[in-house]
């Protein structure tokens, strides 16, 4: 009789567990997953946690904001503040971005409210950044830019053509978020030895090694937990905090899944990698956001079903397959961004060439170049070496933009000063941008192709009609 009772209890537990799993599956939320750690004694009921990653998203956004605060003179205070967001672990750091508004209230105002003692420097790609002079590592480069940004006027160096908020931000998107995920969490962490699934991540944790590793990777991607129930456009609108929504309150409605009237930066907000993926997908030609999110979710379901046991080779193989989807889609979304900004740079140069440069056109050009360069370095911060494609990208884009007077930064001396030389001019640089776009189509298979400088021709052909007719005089 006792045995039957036990069996009954067990089967109800299994039923409950499967209901929980089904609920997750039904709603497609990356919100709550059951605790599978054996003998867990804590109070938590959810094994999902990626607060550190969300804290880093806010550090990244805030650092970008700070990088644009300079007044053109040396500013050690600003530099120290930027360093505290990049490399510090100080308590009490305010979230400078994203910040809330009446139509889009945000729950947290301090980084510590999400997670304490986090920084970006420790998680920045440590390899050599070959796309910039002087053999700097990832953290070296960010620190170099932080130094420059602190003394630039509103973040821009108009003589040399650098926009530091853009360079820093777009580079971090690859050198931290993308790199951490594809080169760490979804690479060696999926091996049999590392982060085992039959043990808690650390003593007393509510999650196993593999579960937590997977969750943190999802956190770096920065999609809202309910991403699968949103369209790419809605995910994009959330990141824009209502500025691209009509009415403005729509963004809050899309984000605020628990209906508490506030947007939780953890789980309800769109952060930069997911934002960029969504921004391409909303054009309808790609589905990077959904592919990545679904792979994360499917992987998490698999981990939940493993029930805290060591993963079999087959299970790890499946996880690797999901990881491959995440990696290739993420890589493509970065390539799309490089493509997009190569197109913007091309357009800016065209306008400068036709109308001459003025403060506004120069500012736009430098900003777009910063985005182009930052993303192109990000693209190279993945797990694999892009080889010839990377070499070509770096040569075509150069260490700095070609300025209207044809000068271009080609080196950085030992004191950190820019060394400039005469380039072959902006006409040639425009061609470089076309070649960047062609390279990305040929080698990276970009398909959204925003700002395609050559796509114009497709539209022009269309306007002429097909010409395919057996119609003749």
């Amino acid at each position: 009789m006792k045995q039957y009772k036990k069996l009954g209890l067990l089967s109800s537990a299994v039923a409950l567990l499967s209901v929980a799993a089904c609920t997750t599956m039904d709603t497609g939320m990356y919100g709550s997953f059951p605790i599978t750690v054996k003998n867990y004694s804590g109070k938590s009921t959810n094994s999902v946690s990626y607060t550190g990653q969300i804290a880093r998203h806010t550090l990244h956004e805030s650092l970008k904001k700070l990088a644009g605060k300079g007044n053109g003179k040396s500013n050690p205070v600003l530099k120290a503040k930027m360093m505290s967001y990049y490399a510090g672990k100080d308590a009490g750091r305010t979230i400078l971005s994203p910040t809330g508004s009446a139509s889009f209230p945000i729950m947290q105002s301090g980084v510590d409210q999400i997670s304490k003692k986090k920084n970006l420097a420790g998680k920045t790609y440590k390899g050599t950044i070959t796309g910039m002079p002087n053999q700097m590592t990832g953290p070296d480069l960010v620190k170099f830019w932080i130094g420059k940004a602190s003394s630039a006027k509103k973040g821009q160096d108009q003589a040399n053509g650098y926009d530091y908020p853009q360079l820093i931000s777009k580079f971090i998107m690859g050198a931290v978020f993308y790199n951490q995920v594809v080169d760490g969490y979804l690479d060696e962490n999926l091996s049999a030895k590392k982060k085992p699934n039959n043990k808690p991540y650390k003593k007393g944790a509510a999650y196993t090694g593999k579960e937590h590793s997977w969750d943190e990777a999802f956190g770096y991607f920065g999609a809202p937990a309910h991403v699968m129930s949103l369209s790419a456009k809605q995910v994009y609108e959330i990141a824009k905090k209502g500025s691209k929504s009509t009415p403005k309150s729509n963004a809050l409605a899309y984000a605020d899944i628990n209906k508490d009237g506030k947007v939780n930066l953890y789980g309800e907000m769109t952060h930069s990698p997911a934002y960029y993926a969504a921004s391409f997908d909303k054009g309808g030609k790609t589905s990077y956001l959904k592919n990545i999110s679904k792979a994360f979710l499917d992987g998490r379901l698999l981990l939940a079903s493993a029930g805290g046991k060591t993963l079999s080779d087959g299970q790890r193989e499946k996880l690797r397959a999901y990881a491959a989807v995440i990696e290739s889609n993420w890589e493509k979304s970065l390539a799309e961004a490089v493509f997009k900004y190569a197109g913007s740079v091309y357009k800016d140069l065209k306008s400068i060439k036709a109308k001459g440069s003025n403060a506004k056109s120069l500012k736009n050009y430098i900003k777009h170049w910063g985005e182009l360069k930052g993303f192109s370095l990000s693209l190279q911060a993945g797990r694999k070496n892009l080889g010839e494609t990377a070499v070509k990208l770096n040569r075509l884009i150069g260490a700095g933009p070609v300025m209207p007077n044809s000068s271009q930064v080609t080196d950085i001396d030992s004191k950190g000063n820019y060394v400039k030389s005469q380039s072959s001019g902006i006409d040639n640089y425009m061609l470089h941008m076309l070649k960047v776009q062609k390279l990305l189509i040929d080698k990276m298979g970009v398909t959204a192709q925003s700002n395609n400088s050559v796509a114009n021709m497709g539209a022009m052909l269309k306007s002429l009609g097909s010409g395919a007719a057996a119609e003749n005089d």
Binding site: M430, L431, L434, S463, S466, A468, A469, A470, D473
Partner: protein
Amino acid sequence: MENLVSWLVTDYFSGLLDTFVDPKKRVSIVYLASAIILALAWSFFVNKKNKNQALRQVIKQLFSKKIWFSPSVRTDLLMVVINRAIMLTFSPLLLSRIALTTGLFYLLNDYFGSSHGILISLPYWAAPFGYTLFLFFFDDFTRFLVHKAFHQIPFLWTIHKVHHSAEYLTPFTVYRTHPLEGIIFTLRSIFVQAITISFFVFLFAGKIDLVSIYGVNFLLFLFNVTGANLRHSHFNISYGTFLEKFFISPAQHQIHHSVSEKHRDKNFGAILAIWDLFGKSLCLSRPNQKIKFGVKNIENLDLNKISIIYIYPFIEMGKSILEIVTRTKKVQ
């Protein structure tokens, strides 16, 4: 079966309907209507007929039973339907327009990179007008060249003869063409579009808009709306000796369709007559010219029989190739 039905509905019939609606097509309803109006006006104002006589003339020359119930016109109409299906099947297999255009564009950049965007600072209207005019002239010139080739190269004439075998002309005679001719003309159009677009995007570094009316090159629209359909009709409109040196009138194109030896290989031009003028193949029209349309039918074939129309050119082509081979052997 399902595929066939969806193909018929979404591709075939919609395309067929487009033929009569799309202002890019010669036989679009707008141009057909404007041709009738023009014929009426011509009869009334130029031929000085009264209203009733004008109406009678137009009905007789454009709508007579003799024309519309002739085997020739029945064949034309059948070919509209058949050719549409053939072209729909084969045209996607031809050269990709976008690939050729971008390929040419990159080629221009590779070889003449320093000239990229060289015309960027011209006034804003220069690009669209330059582009539209260039396209018009280049298109018309290549039409002339290919058309001339169809007449003067024996092997191509076997194909083009299909078009000239029409004994009665109606606007639908433009579709009385062998599909091989359709394919060659499609390729011509692809090259013209690709060369023009790649060249202009290269020079102006960006998208250029066509100067258009209802989405059609405005010059082409003017041509079509001013009675282009009367070229294939029995209605005789001439432009006079001066204008006919610049523009091919309907009467001049009717000369091109004449069976008479003296009219052989004349007026290859589509819109402009200047190519024929330079090429010494221009023939001006005469008032009240009486022309018999068609081709010499030495073999006495039924040139309105669909099977003969579609298959016979291949047999003739085979014959002419065989002839060349035997001749070469003899020479050896």
